[in-house]
């Protein structure tokens, strides 16, 4: 604790020193572009790539003038030497013009760019900068230059272009992206790619069509066509920043401040390193049984807050892991019985010479039953994961309630149980998933039907803020109220027989309520009353 307090005060002192030394240094470092991919957004880098392409075009323009002049002069010199004497001004001008035209076509070719890259090494260095990938290939797709591995990309590209249908789609995609990004005489390509550490040469492009169709964009490329059919592609990557990269930077920053700010910063640096080390340790423990917690500095500073957040996440993970273990135990236990039965039935089939229809049906039924149980489990897991919240929209609960009552009316009538329905005058509009509510209400009606003796009565009421289902069955002992929502829980006192998908129906109802922020409660009142209060 003494150390903590000391660290806390030195932290403030260190901060003061750092403000003076560290900020200008950081600016200088930024100018030096120590790590540009982390500093620039993807948009900025894409604009950057487009600009580079423009600059290359300008360079080519300039080159055309200079290079043609050079070649023309050489040609004139050669002609003069061949003639062994002087040329008339007219002859010289004629030769010069012809050579100039030859060396300076209306449009550039891939060879021009190759020459330019050799002549102007800065241009190549500039292209090879970390976040840029580029590829120059000739009219048949052969690699001329670049920092991409072209084999993986060019043949496939040609394949796709060879197929008229696919290439049309590609163009559509290209057009869409083009509109949004960068109009010009340049084609625009979007590609999937893998960007690895250690320089652009490791970049592989995997799929030229898949991006722009919903997946994260991996690599955006501009394309420049040359007169001879050669193409230059230039692009940037949107490799997301990962934790490891930030972790690398933090100790680096700490080290720098240690050197520059002197002893005052030492503890800050140490704190940073300890913090990162703690994080690393916590992460490496994720696979083991008990999750550690990070040590909190307790000074309500940045590190303290970060630690608190991370500890909260670890807490949540711990809870999830232990409930996972609990659920897995239950599942294993409850599926073992039907699986064993199935195994026995299959063995019997194997032994019998002529399997009867009854035997086959029994096996089929057992398998269907297992499949239903798995589906129910998957559904609960899915609802619990919260992913279906994305599908929420406004719907009329009154319609869902009316529909479920209509769906169950014949089943209730056949059973001799009365189903009363009470709906409010107008719609009951809620945000949520109507299919899930239908599922929940159907499970509840199933339950009520099963547990209400023939001649009984079930009443389903919908109000603006809640829904209530009352049956005239035996109810559930109060001590079990909290347990009926657990997976595979079967009531001790209730039930005429074990229903299909037994023990999962109410878990799903609970998960659906939880997903919608609705509260569900049970009450015994001459039968069971299930009450759901909407959020």
């Amino acid at each position: 604790m003494r150390r903590e307090v000391l660290a806390s005060s030195t932290f403030r002192r260190a901060l003061g020193v750092c403000l003076v030394v560290w900020i200008p240094l950081a600016l200088a470092l930024a100018l030096w572009r120590v790590h540009p991919p982390l500093a620039d957004s993807f948009d900025e880098r894409t604009d950057n790539a487009a600009e580079r392409l423009e600059i290359i075009i300008e360079e080519l323009d300039e080159f055309r003038g200079e290079h043609a002049e050079e070649l023309a002069a050489e040609a004139a010199e050669r002609a003069r030497a061949a003639r062994g004497g002087t040329l008339t001004e007219e002859e010289r001008s004629d030769i010069w013009d012809r050579a100039y035209d030859q060396a300076s076509p209306e449009e550039w070719t891939g060879r021009h760019l190759l020459w330019l890259l050799d002549e102007q090494p800065w241009l190549r260095d500039w292209l090879n900068e970390e976040e840029i990938c580029w590829l120059l290939f000739d009219q048949v797709g052969a690699w001329l230059d670049g920092n991409l591995v072209p084999e993986l990309f060019v043949p496939r590209q040609e394949d796709l272009v060879a197929d008229p249908k696919v290439s049309r789609t590609m163009r559509t995609t290209v057009q869409e992206v083009d509109d949004a990004w960068f109009a010009a005489p340049l084609d625009f390509f979007v590609m999937d790619g893998v960007w690895t550490e250690g320089g652009a040469r490791d970049v592989r492009l995997s799929s030229p069509v898949s991006s722009g169709l919903g997946e994260p964009l991996q690599c955006l490329m501009h394309q420049l066509h040359f007169a001879d059919g050669a193409r230059l592609r230039l692009g940037v990557h949107n490799e997301p920043q990962d934790l490891d990269a930030s972790l690398l930077i933090a100790p680096a920053a700490a080290l720098l401040s240690l050197l520059l700010a002197g002893a005052g910063s030492y503890r800050l640096a140490r704190r940073t390193i300890e913090f990162v080390e703690d994080l690393r340790r916590a992460r490496s423990h994720l696979e083991s049984d008990a999750l550690p917690r990070l040590r909190r500095p307790g000074d309500d500073g940045d590190f303290d807050r970060a630690t608190r957040e991370i500890n909260a996440i670890l807490e949540r993970l711990d809870g999830a892991l232990s409930s996972l273990g609990h659920v897995t135990d239950n599942i294993a236990h409850d599926l073992r019985t039907p699986l064993t039965r199935l195994q026995g039935q299959l063995e019997m089939l194997r032994r019998s010479d002529r399997p009867t229809d009854t035997m086959l049906t029994a096996v089929q039924d057992e398998a269907d039953q297992l499949l239903a149980t798995f589906n129910a489990l998957l559904r609960i897991a899915q609802v619990e994961s919260g992913s279906r919240r994305r599908g929420f929209r406004r719907f009329d609960m009154a319609r869902v309630v009316a529909d479920v009552a209509e769906l169950y009316a014949p089943a209730f009538a056949d059973d001799g149980t009365e189903l009363d329905l009470s709906l409010p005058e107008g719609p009951v509009e809620l945000d949520g998933d109507a299919d899930l509510w239908m599922q929940a209400l159907s499970n509840l009606l199933d339950n009520a039907l099963k547990h209400t003796p023939s001649g009984g009565r079930v009443r389903l009421e919908l109000h603006a803020d809640r829904l209530q289902l009352r049956d005239s069955g035996p109810g559930i002992p109060e001590t079990e109220h909290h347990r009926v929502f657990e997976r595979f829980y079967r009531g001790s006192a209730r039930g005429r027989q074990a229903p299909r998908g037994a023990g999962l129906g109410l878990s799903l109802v609970a998960a659906i309520c939880e997903l919608h922020g609705a509260a569900i409660e049970l009450e015994n009142d001459d039968g069971l009353v299930v009450r759901i209060r909407f959020a």
Binding site: S210, P410, A411, M438
Partner: protein, 224 residues
């Protein structure tokens, strides 16, 4: 029918492929997204069965790309991620039906047949007829052997769906989706009760019976 099964799980592909072949279909199988895209775009298939998670090119992107290229081959998505917005995503991408894994093969087969039928029967009809059972779609009236039958609105919808898929097997889930318009899984036999009520009205006083139960799968309405 010529079916292209795009599925990278070998066990599933083998099982589904064998089942479809047994049902009389020609089946090609491919487990790699990009290759599958090329083949689906160039060869004339009657139906594509597409797994969502594929190496190379994701199933959703594959179908979007095909649709973008004007290819209208019916698509049935298979997916281990059977939740609602995935489903909506799949249908928006141009899929015609969506079946979450795990599924029973009979369910898949029923949906395959239904997709095929839907494609071959695009012309609008005003009357459905199976044996002596006649459904006047304009008046919403049903007669059997010339005798008018009194059906409730839901029973009419149920019968219409069964008659439109006469001779095919329709599953309980399909009925729930198409007749009730809900995607969920009732734990009990609510659908059976509805069908048996309909059956009482259609078949009890007439011969031969038209609505048949297909054990473990669903129902089929057909003339004997």
């Amino acid at each position: 029918m010529r079916i292209f099964l795009i599925e990278d799980d070998e066990a599933v592909a083998r099982h589904v492929g064998a089942g479809l072949r047994e049902a009389g279909h020609a089946v090609d199988v491919c487990g790699e997204g990009r290759e599958a895209l090329l083949r689906a775009a160039t060869e004339p298939y009657d139906l594509l069965i597409v797994d969502r998670g594929l190496p190379g090119l994701e199933g959703l992107a594959l179908v979007k790309t095909l649709r973008g290229a004007g290819n209208a081959t019916p698509v049935l998505f298979l997916s281990a991620l059977g939740d609602v917005d995935r489903r909506v995503e799949g249908l928006q991408a141009g899929g015609d039906d969506y079946l979450p894994k795990p599924f029973a093969f009979s369910e898949l087969l029923a949906r395959v047949e239904a997709l095929h039928r839907r494609r071959t029967q695009d012309a609008p009809v005003t009357e459905l007829r199976v044996a002596d059972l006649v459904f006047d779609l304009l008046r919403r009236e049903v007669t059997r052997a010339g005798q008018r039958l009194e059906l409730l609105p839901r029973e009419l919808a149920l019968l219409e769906y069964l008659m439109r898929h006469a001779g095919q097997v329709v599953t309980r889930t399909m009925l729930l989706e198409k007749v009730w318009d809900y995607h969920f899984d009732p734990q009990t036999n609510v659908i059976d009760v509805h069908v048996s009520r309909l059956r009482r009205k259609i078949d009890r006083d007439f011969d031969p019976p038209l609505i048949h139960t297909v054990r473990g799968v669903g129902y089929s309405l057909r003339a004997p």
